[in-house]
Symmetry: C2
Subunit: 326 residues, 2 copies
């Protein structure tokens, strides 16, 4: 198991998993079974884990924290389901995707269902009591992040096959695609455990840096034939017209721009050549370096909590991002 090094937290994440599964209900049996099937296929629950871990740095209250952690994972799951419809991916985490097994109809509306379920779980926490301003702000931020995530997906589509993004556009897409939800996880964990405004801000930075590194490593996997381990089909981003940092880096080298531009016109045919030039001209190294820079920033932030056992687990998790197989 992922958290074996920390048995107490492993137990907590196990219990959370049971809770999470129990929230995945629907009066429609097909939806219920299918959400459960997807959820049981795994995933490290890295976002809820981050939320829960951060909450332990403050006054952890399971009753408030778990629903938020479950909601974040539901939102994540919803976007994966919609992503897979769009990419026509047959597999995710080694199991058949919903649109593949059932239909686009079920996949699209199940994603919508999960968004609504996430909202419901969040709002259910505020039965009779007033939602404190600081928490309401976090909830609104999370909703705004869903909006930005959608905007990011559409922007990526606008560039697809048309344009190698600038470095800035690429960072923006990393942020919207992944870092914002990591940031939301960390800030919600902090705010819902009564941490100070400054600490909430700091934890947001922690989540942001983790998310940026996470997505950079994801983009590296695309060049490392590691996808089979991840239960994804090997279907390179660049053959889909999506250009990530390893390519952008080489593209910005005047000497190699023409070459890679030529190869990208027939990406299927030139897959091997594209990978070669990207490796040889430092695209992989540069991407790793940048990922490590984000990792270092995240570690620096969490180092303030080095005497706290949850601070230690967060540090371990941050380091794990670089050598992950999840």
């Amino acid at each position: 198991m992922f958290w074996d090094k920390y048995p107490e937290f492993a137990k907590e994440m196990n219990d959370f998993e049971d809770y999470f599964q129990s929230t995945l209900t629907s009066s429609n049996q097909l939806i219920k079974n299918e959400i459960k099937r997807l959820a049981e296929a795994g995933g490290k629950r890295i976002r809820p884990a981050l939320l829960i871990l951060v909450s332990h740095l403050g006054e952890h209250d399971k009753e408030r924290i778990w629903p938020m952690a479950a909601s974040i994972e539901m939102i994540h799951l919803a976007t994966l389901i919609h992503d897979d419809v769009i990419d026509k991916s047959p597999l995710r985490r080694g199991v058949e995707t919903t649109h593949q097994r059932l239909s686009n109809n079920t996949a699209i509306f199940m994603g919508d269902y999960l968004f609504a379920l996430a909202m419901e779980v969040i709002l259910n926490e505020f039965g009779d009591q007033k939602i404190e301003d600081v928490l309401m702000r976090q909830i609104k931020n999370t909703i705004q992040n869903i909006k930005k995530l959608c905007e990011g997906e559409v922007s990526q589509f606008q560039r697809q096959f048309v344009k190698v993004p600038s470095f800035r556009e690429y960072l923006d897409s990393l942020n919207k695609k992944t870092a914002l939800l990591f940031k939301a996880s960390a800030t919600m964990g902090a705010a819902f455990s009564g941490m100070s405004k400054y600490q909430v801000h700091k934890m947001g930075k922690l989540g942001h840096n983790m998310g940026m590194a996470f997505q950079l490593i994801d983009d590296l996997f695309d060049f490392q034939d590691k996808n089979s381990e991840l239960g994804k089909p090997q279907n390179n981003d660049f053959t889909q017209g999506i250009y990530t940092l390893p390519i952008i880096y080489v593209y910005n080298n005047i000497e190699h721009k023409k070459n890679i531009e030529k190869y990208l016109k027939e990406p299927e045919k030139n897959t091997k050549k594209i990978k070669e030039i990207v490796y040889d001209q430092g695209g992989i190294d540069y991407t790793k370096e940048l990922a490590n820079r984000y990792i270092d920033k995240a570690k620096k932030i969490i180092s303030t909590y080095s005497d706290n056992k949850y601070g230690e687990i967060i540090k371990w998790t941050v380091e794990k991002i670089v050598n992950r197989n999840f």
Copy 2:
């Protein structure tokens, strides 16, 4: 214009339209333009109109009401966009659909974006003040209705081409597909204008009955070659394996069950025969009758407000549902 008979309210809906359009923003220009394009294509805004009309029966406060009305329309728009992706419809309200004009990617994520935007607009109304219990309950109900709407769509898909639904299943699908959002509109209008619990309940019934009638009439259009007027392609539900009341009625007639069953096996080939048998055996008349029963129930509820000018407009709107071309 639709509300010309009531100039004051027509003006109000005009102003609301400007407000609604102004809420449809995105930092992504493509999303922004595309949502606006769809919104400008029309639609009678019947759900927000119902919400606004009902609110005038209580203590109408535009500042509270318009955001709720806009959110309901956003949710409706989001489901239409996702519906059109699934049905591969090229046209809606006479203009190209998003997936057709741009891509499935944009359409799916734009729908998601609109869901998030709707949540944001709702929650933004509760900046610093506590959300009153009764209002929070309405917001949660609306979110639950989104869940049910998704469940209804999936259920419909499960039956598609497989099973003529029972009368009960059909009513359930009318409810989930349409009546729940009408009900949410009416109850939100009532609750957010300070009406009593009993009145909120009554207005919910009003919305429910209007929604049921609305969808029954929609299902009738499918047999009346009226779709071209609605800017939809004529693509009968039954050729898509979706069986509505006119068919269900005939199917439950022992004498004709075998016949219609046979025709439905090759619906494209038998379109004319299916329509004939449905007309001749009373499927159309029965559906109209049922729609009228819901209309009568709605009228009875609103008759309590017959001395109120907004009560009168609601009554007119209810009657309009039967002879609508929207």
